[in-house]
């Protein structure tokens, strides 16, 4: 099956460069580069260096080389022990190495999964010498990654029917966008027919089937869509759990966020984690154990878990809380849990979280923020409201994991095309998982997302994924600045992948954030943020 990256190809103009000279970035990026006097050639190689600083960077490189030559240390060991951040910012990377070479190596806390017991253990590294936290370089990201840049990866076409299916899906979506429902309906019929001749167990046939269903739903039920996410909270949690088991995306999210939270909490004795979507609390045992093993002892940990209210009188949030408390007790971590039941994140008010001013707060959002992007012209945008109260909590860190996709474009065809690529890549990656019923239920989990993206509108459409570049702008504009995820987090994530998953997954560093993808197409992006302390919003450079 061949599927190519959409990058808004299907319809509207997407701002491709109109310049005539060699390989220049899209116009907006160019302007920004010019304004900041960034060397264009080095930018093409992926490095941000101001032309006016070239000489200084060169001198630093010279000093670094001399330091390396004269260093008695085993350089490769030093390199392993050091945490590197944001290599695109060449000047600061060189500086950080220079300072490493002139002081003892750092001993960062590290998460590792013990392959035998399947539990996270904290590495020995920091039980040796006096640990001190590595420098965190707070670099504001200048560039705005073009929204058009998306990865395209696909296996070579296996049969013509696959190509035809793709063509027909696009045609159908185009009809829907134009409002030509009778033509769209006949397209649907043709596609159903074609499906019978295509292998629907895997590949294009499988994902095409879900898209055909979603299109049918849209055409015949209208965009209220019926209740796509109509499953009960229990069902949703079940599907989520199987998605967690079947592929590494959620494990990566939890792992990366926990690593960042652990580092942010270093040296703090009263810490409070606010989880925007508790589910079964799968993320937290690892953090509790890591805190237990912290040198100097664990802090007092409070966890506030937000989740939908339970319909049947059960307090499922509390049940999860009790289990986590039990675990915490067994490892001697003082722990308190609070559940906040809310059907929508925007219904949560900061006072419900009962944050104590003396606590260090971590806000953890795994695939929740995009749900706040639905626009209702009559109200304040929910995302702004929520980001604003998060900021008012002055969290030490806010960890954000989101799908790396552009599923919130206004044009239906654009969204459809993008989703077709994104979800076929994701389904492709699922093929690597053979364990049932994880795989089958994980597919249903993903299928529900597809249905929401394709067949819903307005407030019913909650799967409004936006790419990292957009989140960067949004969060910077709301008064947050990035905390960069470094090479230690990268390495742990890569190791996690080798332990748990098939070949084909890849972790990439992207300007201080980490992405996990399949065959070089990023599918999920993890980032960390901190409120800018001066009380005013940080405008993007």
């Amino acid at each position: 099956m061949v599927l190519y990256d959409s990058a808004t190809l299907g319809g509207s103009c997407s701002g491709s460069s109109s310049s005539s000279s060699s390989s220049k970035p899209p116009p907006l990026q160019q302007r920004q580069q010019k304004q900041q006097d960034i060397d264009g050639f080095l930018a093409g190689a992926g490095y941000r260096v101001r032309s006016s600083e070239l000489r200084k960077v060169a001198q630093r490189l010279e000093r670094l080389e001399t330091a390396m030559v004269n260093s008695p240390a085993d350089l490769s060991q030093l390199a392993s022990d050091t945490i590197h951040y944001n290599p695109s910012d060449l000047a600061s990377w060189v500086d950080s190495l220079l300072s490493e070479l002139t002081q003892p190596p750092t001993c960062p806390s590290e998460f590792i999964m013990d392959p035998v017991s399947n539990q996270t253990v904290v590495s020995d590294a920091w039980t040796t010498a006096e640990p001190h936290m590595p420098q965190v370089h707070q670099n504001i990201s200048y560039e705005q990654q073009s929204l058009n840049n998306q990865l395209t990866v696909v296996p070579a076409m296996e049969e013509d029917s696959g190509i035809r299916l793709v063509h027909m899906l696009m045609t159908c979506a185009e009809c829907v966008q134009r409002g030509d429902f009778s033509l769209a309906t006949s397209c649907l019929e043709d596609m159903q027919g074609l499906l019978t001749r295509v292998n629907t167990v895997c590949g294009i046939g499988k994902v095409a089937g879900h898209f055909i269903d979603a299109l049918s739903r849209r055409i015949f039920q209208g965009i209220g869509g019926g209740s796509v996410n109509g499953g009960s909270a229990y069902e949703n949690e079940l599907l989520y759990h199987h998605f967690y088991e079947a592929c590494p995306y959620l494990k990566f999210a939890h792992f990366t966020a926990n690593q960042a939270i652990l580092e942010a909490f270093d040296g703090h004795d009263c810490v409070h984690v606010v989880d925007f979507n508790l589910m079964h609390g799968l993320q937290w045992p690892a953090l509790i154990q890591a805190l237990a093993l912290r040198p100097g002892g664990p802090p007092l940990l409070r966890l506030t878990g937000i989740g939908p209210p339970s319909p049947d009188g059960r307090d499922s949030l509390r049940e999860i809380g009790l289990r986590l408390a039990e675990l915490a007790r067994s490892v001697n971590v003082r722990f308190a849990f609070r559940g906040v039941a809310a059907s929508r994140l925007e219904d949560v008010k900061p006072w419900m979280l009962q944050v104590n001013p003396k606590e260090s707060v971590a806000v953890n959002s795994i695939m929740q923020l995009h749900r706040l992007l639905g626009s209702d012209p009559n109200r304040n945008s929910p995302i702004e409201t929520v980001l604003s109260w998060i900021r008012s909590l002055n969290p030490k860190i806010m960890t954000v994991v989101e799908q790396e996709a552009n599923h919130n474009q206004p044009g239906f065809l654009d969204r459809f095309t993008e989703a077709l690529h994104y979800y076929s890549t994701m389904f492709d990656s699922l093929e690597a998982c053979t364990v049932q019923p994880n795989k089958a239920l994980a597919e249903i989990y993903i299928q529900r997302e597809i249905a929401n993206v394709v067949s819903c509108e307005g407030s019913a459409r909650v799967e409004r994924h936006e790419p990292l570049s957009k989140w960067r702008t949004r969060l910077s504009g709301a008064g947050f600045r990035p905390l960069h995820l470094g090479s230690n987090a990268y390495k742990q994530a890569s190791m996690l992948l080798t332990l748990f998953s098939a070949e084909g997954y890849s972790v990439e560093e992207n300007d201080g954030c980490l992405t996990l993808g399949w065959h070089s197409r990023p599918l999920i992006a993890a980032s960390a943020w901190q409120a800018v302390s001066d009380g005013t919003a940080d405008f993007p450079a």
């Binding site: 990058a7 190809l9 050639f41 490095y47 080389e65 990865l151 395209t152 696909v154 070579a156």
Partner: protein, 344 residues
């Protein structure tokens, strides 16, 4: 006589523009951190530090790209770069593999450099280079993401190159209209140049037609220490020690540098006399310490009666073709363009 680790910073700063010096020095120092004395490689850190770019199906300066999985078993990806045409300035998503329309379209199979160990097809520097090749030669470029050492030794890189060649040769949509054949060129820099040579050899043996081979600073070597190696060791970003490390990482364990992969015309090599080897364009940088091996390669081809053009760029260092800020770059690009278009 310069010792390997004597650093002669001033000399190399004189011959390259400052931004080139910064770029290549950065690579040099980063790579020093990644190679371990025991022959293992810090792959995680390498991938973290490597600046990568995604494929972009939206044309930028008339070139668009997309990634294709050529072989599932080895996760062999390639990035395909295509020029837009006047009739089709904006490619359709379902038609990225639309047949080429011109009478003759050169298809350049490109192997990126990195001494068999570093970089990927989606490394920023190589993405940029491949895009330039498309515009320059009005070609389709297929950049192969071959498996790297030390995790994957000889002959993995050659096997992957061969797989890619077969794939390219069998794509109907890459056939030139004139003769319904795919017009294939092989190209590569550093280790990629070495791979291009060996893939060409396999092609000849299997009857696939290669129209030409472009070798940019190809990576060759041998047991002996040549004059250029001794003279230039450590002077222009590269040391003998690091060259040795990469060969030890790529060649089968226990083999020395006279292995034919490294030294194709050496004591264990074979003569190409009587073989219909494709014409070659070999670019040698005058400040590259392995130039004696590269020149020996050219001699080897000539002695076997093969067509080869040598471009000796006296004041050029390694990596000169990465940034278009020097005249060597433009000279070489012109020659490449002529080399590829001479079959039209």
């Amino acid at each position: 006589m310069a010792r390997s680790n004597e650093v002669n910073l001033n000399e190399c700063k004189m011959v390259v523009p400052l931004n080139t010096w910064v770029l290549i020095s950065n690579f040099k120092l980063a790579y020093n951190l990644l190679r371990r004395p025991d022959g293992t490689f810090n792959r995680h850190l390498a991938e973290f530090l490597d600046r990568k770019v995604p494929a972009n199906a939206n044309p930028v300066d008339g070139v668009f790209s997309f990634d294709v999985l050529i072989d599932r078993g080895t996760s062999l990806l390639s990035r395909i770069y295509r020029p837009t045409t006047a009739e089709e300035p904006q490619p359709n998503i379902a038609e990225l593999e639309k047949p080429v329309t011109a009478a003759v379209v050169p298809v350049i199979i490109f192997f990126h450099g990195g001494s068999f160990t570093h970089s990927s097809a989606n490394s920023a520097i190589y993405d940029t280079l491949c895009r330039r090749l498309v515009s320059l030669c009005k070609a389709v470029v297929v950049s192969v993401n071959y498996r790297r050492a030390p995790e994957n030794r000889y002959p993995c890189a050659y096997d992957d190159g061969w797989t890619a060649l077969k794939w390219v040769n069998s794509r109907p949509w890459l056939q030139s209209q004139k003769d319904s054949k795919v017009h294939i060129y092989l190209a590569g820099d550093s280790s990629g140049g070495n791979i291009a040579h060996h893939v060409a050899l396999r092609a000849i043996e299997s009857g696939i037609d290669i129209l030409g081979s472009i070798l940019l600073n190809p990576m060759f070597g041998g047991q002996e220490r040549t004059e250029s190696e001794k003279r230039l060791d450590g002077k222009y970003f590269v040391t003998l020690r690091d060259r040795d490390w990469y060969w030890r990482a790529y060649l089968p364990e226990g083999e020395d540098r006279d292995h034919p992969a490294c030294n194709p015309f050496g004591p264990n090599g074979r003569s190409l006399e009587g073989i219909k080897f494709p014409k070659s364009l070999v670019v040698v940088a005058g400040l590259d310490l392995i130039q004696d091996w590269q020149l020996a390669y050219v001699e080897g081809l000539k002695k076997a009666g093969q067509e080869v053009k040598l471009l000796y760029m006296e004041q050029a260092t390694i990596g000169f073709y990465l940034l278009p800020n020097n005249h060597h770059f433009h000279t070489v690009m012109d020659e490449i363009s002529k080399f590829v278009s001479s079959d039209c």
